[in-house]
């Protein structure tokens, strides 16, 4: 077992002439909750898709548990995409069966218990669910696996604050303690206190990787405040051009 669950070295991903990731060096340890933070277009989703094998790197290496991304590492990774990928005619129990078929580490009882808590019945159709409920159901599925690496792409985008609390509490209470959770978001203020570490991505590169409390101690301000400073773009103040 490799010491780090994630190792990226000189990782580049280009879409045509545009480099979404421009040389990422990153090592993530085990048993941590890590925030992958950056504005829109900074490469968060690209990095996550490389880690779960949906994309191939243009250059550089990406290792999960010390191994190149492939079938072996995919079994260790539980991925929450940034948008729903299930057909909306499916019922909640169809999704549970799908996960049970695909993943040996899926805990059926845990997932049905979480669905109960959400008020989602096994016969409920996805089509009839609100956006917030769909997000929560997907998260319940993903967190019901006993994975080594959870990759959650924007799990709290577009849901109300109460649903956000539910989602964050679900993450805290259900991740496998030996596993690492990577949460990508630009809503830092909401998740800062559940994070061990923060990774700032800027224009496809890691510009900061440190423990949240170390950042607070050093900067005397929250990670959210630091983020706003790092990524501030001066607004056009009006006047004639």
């Amino acid at each position: 077992m490799d010491e780090n669950i994630v190792t990226c070295a000189g990782l580049v991903k280009a879409y045509g002439p545009k480099r979404a990731l421009a040389g990422v060096d990153l090592e993530l340890g085990r048993g941590k909750i890590v925030g992958l933070l950056g504005p829109n277009g900074s490469g968060k989703t690209t990095l996550i898709k490389l880690l779960c094998g949906l994309l191939r790197p243009t250059a550089g290496t990406v290792l999960v548990d010390g191994k190149p991304v492939g079938p072996e590492t995919k079994a260790l990774v539980s991925y929450l995409p940034d948008r729903m990928y299930f057909a909306d005619w499916m019922k909640a129990e169809d999704l549970l069966k799908l996960f049970a078929d695909f993943y040996a580490d899926f805990d059926w009882h845990k997932c049905t218990a979480m669905c109960d808590r959400l008020g989602v019945g096994p016969k409920d159709r996805i089509k009839t669910m609100s956006k917030g409920t769909k997000e929560k159901l997907q998260l319940a599925l993903v967190m019901s696996r006993k994975a080594q690496l959870y990759l959650l792409d924007e799990p709290i985008a577009g849901v109300d604050p109460a649903a956000r609390d539910f989602i964050l509490n679900t993450i805290i209470n259900n991740y496998n303690e030996a596993g690492t959770v990577v949460i990508s978001t630009h809503l830092i203020g909401d998740i800062e206190q559940v994070l061990d570490e923060a990774v700032f991505l800027k224009e496809g590169q890691v510009v900061l990787h440190d423990a949240v409390d170390a950042i607070r101690e050093r900067e005397g301000k929250s990670v959210d405040a630091l983020f706003r400073e790092t990524f501030r773009t001066a607004a056009w103040e009006g006047g004639t051009i």
Binding site: I33, I172, Q193, D213, A214, R216, E217, K221
Partner: protein
């Protein structure tokens, strides 16, 4: 009592302070069992590792005893709790004096104001 966290300081320090306060006010009584790390973390909405660090500090301070596996209890040593209370009270007094000094009041005024307030509040 609810958990309140501000952005300017490390989270674990704020958690240590707030659990300490709960011990000093008797919400967690001497010799009583402290809730598990995960439970406290869920209550406060924070990372379990951060709560773990906060509780480790309480052990260093002598306010909590025990281990992560067996669970922690509040110390039964009344002297430790009294000393921690005294320290808190002094910090509050110091903050009060600083606030008055900013308004141009000296320590003499501070005493007078406290006495007057005390009389008004019976």
């Amino acid at each position: 009592m609810t958990w309140k966290l501000t952005g300017d300081r490390p989270i674990w320090q704020q958690l240590t302070e707030q659990v300490t306060l709960r011990i000093l006010t008797g919400e967690y009584p001497p010799g009583g069992r402290l809730p598990a790390v995960r439970e406290l973390a869920a209550q406060a909405g924070v990372n379990p590792n951060t709560m773990q660090r906060a509780l480790a500090q309480l052990e260093q301070d002598g306010l909590a005893v025990g281990s992560r596996t067996a669970g922690r209890t509040v110390t039964e040593d009344a002297a430790v709790i009294t000393a921690a209370k005294e320290e808190r009270a002094r910090a509050a007094a110091k903050a009060y004096l600083e606030a008055l000094a900013a308004l141009g009041y000296g320590p003499g005024d501070a005493g007078r104001l406290i006495e007057e307030e005390g009389q008004q509040n019976g």
